[in-house]
Amino acid sequence: MSRVRLYLSNDTSSCAAGTERLAEAWRQRSGIELVRTSSRGAFYLEPMVERDSPEGRLAWCHVTADDLPRILAGDGGIPVSTIPFLSKQTRHTFVSFGMTEPLSLEAYQAQGGLAGLRKARQVSPSAIIEEIKTSRLRGRGGAAFPVWKKWDVAATTQADRKYVVANADEGDAGTYCDRMIMEGDPFRLIEGMLICARAIGAGAGYIYCRQEYPAATVCLRAAIRAAGEAGWLESGGQPFTIEVVSGAGSYVCGEETALLESLEGRRGVVRARPPHPAQSGLYGRPTIVSNVLTFATIPNILARGGAWHASLGTEGSRGTIALQLGGRVKQPGLLEIPFGLTLREVLDQFGLGMADGARLKAVQVGGPLGSLFTDAQLDIPICFDEFAKADAILGHGGIVVFDDQTDMLELSRHLMAFVADESCGKCVPCRIGSLRAREILETIQSGQATEADLSLLTELGDTMKATSLCALGSRAPYPVLSALQQFPVEFRSRVRS
């Protein structure tokens, strides 16, 4: 009798939700073959087990080890294609997630992998950049800078060496799509870096991966080894090396110039710009620093054409966005959709509203530096320009939903304390400003503050916004001031008159 093949995600969050326990419990069972795949991103269903059927994959959700007989009997599985959270998405970068084994070169190619790189190798470096220009891709790490412009600067700057650096320091709390790519589809990142290397003429690449992601680091190193053995790692007829470098717990190292300092082994202190890294980056050489998701978006653009990418999304925000739902929402998980749905539509259609018994109070988009939205503000379309108009950021696509139990003053203090801890110290507005802002918030908590302290907090915030060297200091006041503006009673009721 042939063995029944069962698919279990090996993603860190799936394992934490229980797939690892299932794998351990079933490892010795006869009659089954366990295949560890990437994750579908529908984490609210984990631990989830899948098996093949004539109608495609069937899924069993919230599985315990005792469910095995039921699964083997084919009893109760639902077709994955009918899960609305997944079927309503438009997956391009995350298309093979949940299907394949992350380190299988064959599976990667069977899903269309390497088509982009092949295309890139058939055309000139300037034609690659032209394709990216046509795609109107903007960086996915937070700054949303047009990708082609960076590449063009690096390509046209004369230098003895150039570098490609993947920013895998996914530090924004509430985000995890880079982790999923590195653990679940590492060859896509590598392919994107190779295309960039060819476009700008780089000979070496680095992936700066945060230390909090040990599984991603292991997976990337294995993928780089496999890609090297398969002969993929070359650019312009020369070997192209890729090295994974571990961070050491510093949030600001996700800022591109601090990241370069850290890659060079120093304190992760922000550099003043210009020059931008594309002109003078790692060791003073032209360097493309882009987010993992940005690199992972590149192969499809080359394979399917820039015009295809530009046909998705909204006027200023082309393509798809990877949103990561977390907090008190009913269905937390990863979704990839074209830009343009409103925040409310995303929370309703994918998040399916609030967790049982919870009532929405505020939604933070874009990590710890992202602005807070109240229920009345959720009709904002998800795209760069609308968010910029609202003094908000999409950042790296993290969406955290807070319920009505949340103390907004304490949340504000927490966020400002985080910035005070993580400030690199180079510029005064951030180094001193975040500390003073935290102190004011603590004074309010202690009941000792006056109205003057609230004015001071606002004034301090405005100074930080206007004068900080990087986004850590200039964005830090936004969540706090948006909390103060939208939940004034929570602050003012604790202020002495």
């Binding site: 709390a173 977390g326 927490h414």
Partner: protein, 156 residues
């Protein structure tokens, strides 16, 4: 007085010495030592500085900058509680309280028997199944305060 160096450290420093003309990389050496020892004894700073051709202040500066480089040995088991926003929204404060009261230590402290060190971490990227607690290498998701006692007993 010269700090005696274990053989392992000598070996790491020799391997990490920059090639002729190549730039030093302090963080890389510190990682290498941390991986072996679990912490970096500040008494090693002069030897590290010498091996990299940099000043002691350069090494001390990098060592003090990065939160995950410890300068003292941690407990046998390292408990990291995530304080990221998704974990906060899902009441990780209750989990932290449960761990603190079970172990009788605060964040950043080690139990007197040297068994556990309790550390805060700002996000482990497990936001969709939060709150998160990592004990040594093992990550636990959807942790409730009532789970804590059972978890910790397994490590005693």
């Amino acid at each position: 007085m010269k700090t005696p160096l274990p053989n392992e450290l000598d070996e790491i420093l020799t391997r990490a010495r920059p090639a002729e003309g190549a730039p030093p990389n302090i963080l890389r050496v510190l990682h290498a030592i941390h991986d072996v020892c679990g912490y970096i004894d500040p008494r090693f700073i002069p030897a590290i500085a010498q091996s990299q051709g940099v000043t002691e202040a350069d090494v001390a500066g990098v060592l003090s900058y990065y939160p995950s480089l410890n300068t003292q040995p941690a407990g046998r088991h390292r408990i990291q509680v995530c304080l990221g926003e998704s974990c906060l929204a899902n009441r990780c404060d209750r989990v932290v309280e449960a761990i603190q009261s079970k172990l009788g230590i605060d964040l950043g402290q080690t139990t007197s028997d040297g068994c556990f060190t309790l550390e805060p971490v700002s996000c482990v990227g497990n936001c969709a199944v939060s709150p998160s607690v990592r004990i040594d290498g093992e990550l636990h998701g959807r942790v409730r305060a009532s789970d804590v006692a059972g978890f910790l007993d397994r490590y005693r």
